[in-house]
């Protein structure tokens, strides 16, 4: 356990050494902390005051007020909860279903592989947002429906990466050794191969988090996401769009926070990929010096 923590610490330090990744980590930390401890802040996302509707940013309301006189900053902070809960929930669902599918398909590589991967192909054939919308049309609008819809859309990514990892690892000596000792397939898949295939899966989780946040906001923007009055960034953009002439900051500021969040996840994901790729080329030595 302490070993994992130390490795995590090293990785974090190396991420902080990159300017873009460091800024992204700080921004995401800020968003996450305000979302978690929103209750301690003097912000109320639901308090209405029609007399103060559509005010521009001011000392009392840093981001201005919406059409019902609610504080937009408060709604952005509580909207971060909606976004982050959807992102984590969706990544969890996608990994929970996608990783075992990929492991089994890649490990056996027989009819199980064909059947599972055809199912994944069907899922891939449907544009994400279309699938999510169809599912929500059936389940009805709720936080749960949005989370499940976004989560299922993430399954193919995990399944494909897990499958590729297993296929790369299953013939290696240490896996053959466990096999030789009589390890059961489930033990080999989950206890021997999976721990060694974690890095690309973690990167995929971060990439998916940014896709999930975008997808959740898009669904809310289209009016089929988390139902009101729960604050959601996409929903705020949807309403703010009706008041572009009266209060331009209404749609601009929540959108800015949303965009920075997505960009941060994306930047960290790419920095991690670069770090891990670098490690691998160092270890093998094969590709150092460029392609010949």
């Amino acid at each position: 356990m302490s070993e994992t923590l130390a490795a995590f610490g090293t990785l974090l330090r190396r991420l902080f050494a990159r300017r873009g990744a460091a800024l992204s980590l700080i921004f995401l930390g800020l968003v996450a902390l305000t979302a978690i401890f929103a209750g301690l802040l003097p912000l109320d996302p639901l308090a209405q005051s029609v007399a103060d509707s559509l005010k521009p940013p001011s000392a009392e309301n840093w981001f201005g007020t919406d059409e019902l006189g609610r504080d937009i900053l408060a709604r952005v902070v509580y909207g971060a909860r909606t976004s982050l809960v959807t992102a984590f929930g969706a990544v969890f669902i996608a990994a929970l279903i996608g990783v075992p599918i990929g492991l089994v398909a890649g490990f056996y590589g027989d009819w199980r592989d064909s059947i599972l991967m055809r199912c994944i192909d069907v899922l891939l054939a449907l544009p994400n947002i279309l699938f999510a919308m169809a599912l929500i049309a059936v389940l009805g609008r709720s936080q749960g429906a949005a989370l499940i819809a976004v989560g299922i859309a993430g399954i193919p990514g995990f399944a494909r990466i897990a499958r590729a990892q297993v296929m790369a690892l299953r013939q290696l000596d240490f896996v053959m050794a466990v096999r030789g000792f009589g390890g059961r397939p489930s033990y080999i898949m989950f206890r021997t191969i999976l721990p060694n295939a974690l890095s690309p899966l973690v990167v995929q989780a971060i990439v998916l988090a940014s896709i999930a946040i975008l997808l959740e906001a898009a669904l809310a923007f289209l009016g089929v996401g988390v139902p009101p009055p729960t604050p959601s960034w996409g929903e705020m953009l949807r309403t703010g769009k009706s008041y572009l002439y009266e209060a331009p900051s209404y749609a601009v500021l929540p959108g800015l926070v949303l965009t920075l969040t997505i960009l941060s996840f994306d930047t960290i994901g790419r920095a991690l990929t670069a770090l891990l790729d670098h490690d691998e080329t160092d270890a093998s030595g094969a590709t150092v010096g460029g392609r010949r």
Partner: protein, 315 residues
């Protein structure tokens, strides 16, 4: 080639069958189902029973599905629950608008994406390359709906140059009006796609630039713009075309959202309307048509592949 295309088209059938059955099953699973929508909220038990019988909802699901399927094959997707018009007619009205938007967006994307990729691939890791890579990251990360709002704020609210809501005007009827309505949505969608194009084409160009045949070409004195334009570009386009095909799903999603931002009367808005009013026949029709379009685009991309690279032969 013909047999390849035919086989690919045949492979589409099972996916469409599974997808259509899944949609049908999901709709069937809703409490009350379509009946509740037709009769309204305050219907009596007799009314419900009558509608159920009249529309055949009392039959087993699998029978209803095959009934729907046999009519769908002949192009009859039923009537919209709300407007009482044939679903296919409603879709046919909207399809040209979406195609026109998609075409313009792709032109915008190519016009931005290709120069960005080429310029940054010529000198990898230079400040110019970093700047342009930053552009790709930005183009990919900025949600289309926020970018659309920003463009409306700038060009419609502040500068009052362009309309904030777009209408559909066929390009051949009135090119100026059509372009005024199309510029902002096409830019919104095109910028996003240009990010995808820029990022992947750059990677693919840099990879090809290191190949032996490029060194040979340079050594025998081929002018640099020919080396980049003809030798490198043609080979770099290969992996790139695949990526573009894979990204089509996001393109369709982006189009749905873009149409909502600009209240553009395309297929995407029809789909959203079908979902919010729970117009199930319309929903089914829209999803299937979009799915078919998506698969046909992918097939076209694969065929482009053979055209770009004569080494590839489809059998």
């Amino acid at each position: 080639m013909t047999s390849y295309v035919l086989r690919r088209l045949a492979q589409m059938l099972p996916v469409l069958l599974i997808a259509s059955f899944a949609i049908f099953a999901m709709i069937y699973a809703v409490p009350g189902g379509p009946v509740a929508i037709i009769v309204g909220e305050n219907a009596s038990a007799e009314e419900i029973a009558e509608v159920t019988r009249k529309f055949g909802f009392d039959r087993p699901m699998i029978v209803q599905y095959f009934d729907w399927l046999s009519r769908a094959i002949t192009g009859d997707f039923g009537l919209s629950l709300h407007s009482r018009q044939p679903v296919l007619h409603l879709i046919g009205e909207r399809l040209p608008a979406t195609l026109q938007l998609a075409l313009c967006a792709i032109l915008v994307a190519l016009a931005i994406g290709i120069p960005v990729a080429v310029a940054s691939a010529i000198k990898p890791q230079s400040w110019f390359d970093r700047l342009l890579s930053g552009w790709s990251a930005l183009a990919l990360g900025v949600p289309t709906f926020w970018l659309g709002i920003l463009l409306i704020l700038l060009f419609a609210v502040e500068l009052r140059l362009l309309p904030s809501a777009s209408r559909y005007v066929p390009l051949w009827e009135s090119p100026v009006d059509a372009l005024r309505s199309l510029i902002l949505p096409a830019m919104t969608l095109g910028v996003y796609v240009s990010g995808v194009l820029g990022r992947f084409l750059r990677a693919s160009l840099i990879g090809e630039a290191r190949a032996d045949y490029v060194r040979t070409a340079r050594a025998k004195g081929v002018p640099e713009n020919r080396v980049v334009g003809l030798h490198i570009m043609r080979n770099a386009l290969l992996p790139f075309v695949t990526i573009v095909g894979l990204m089509m799903a996001n393109f369709i999603g982006g189009a749905v959202v873009t149409e909502a931002v600009f209240t553009y009367p395309g297929l995407g808005r029809l789909l959203i309307q079908a979902i919010t009013t729970r117009d199930y026949p319309l929903l089914q029709g829209c999803i299937l048509v979009i799915l078919v379009a998506y698969m046909l685009i992918n097939l076209t991309v694969d065929m482009l592949y053979a055209w770009i690279d004569p080494r590839i032969e489809y059998r």
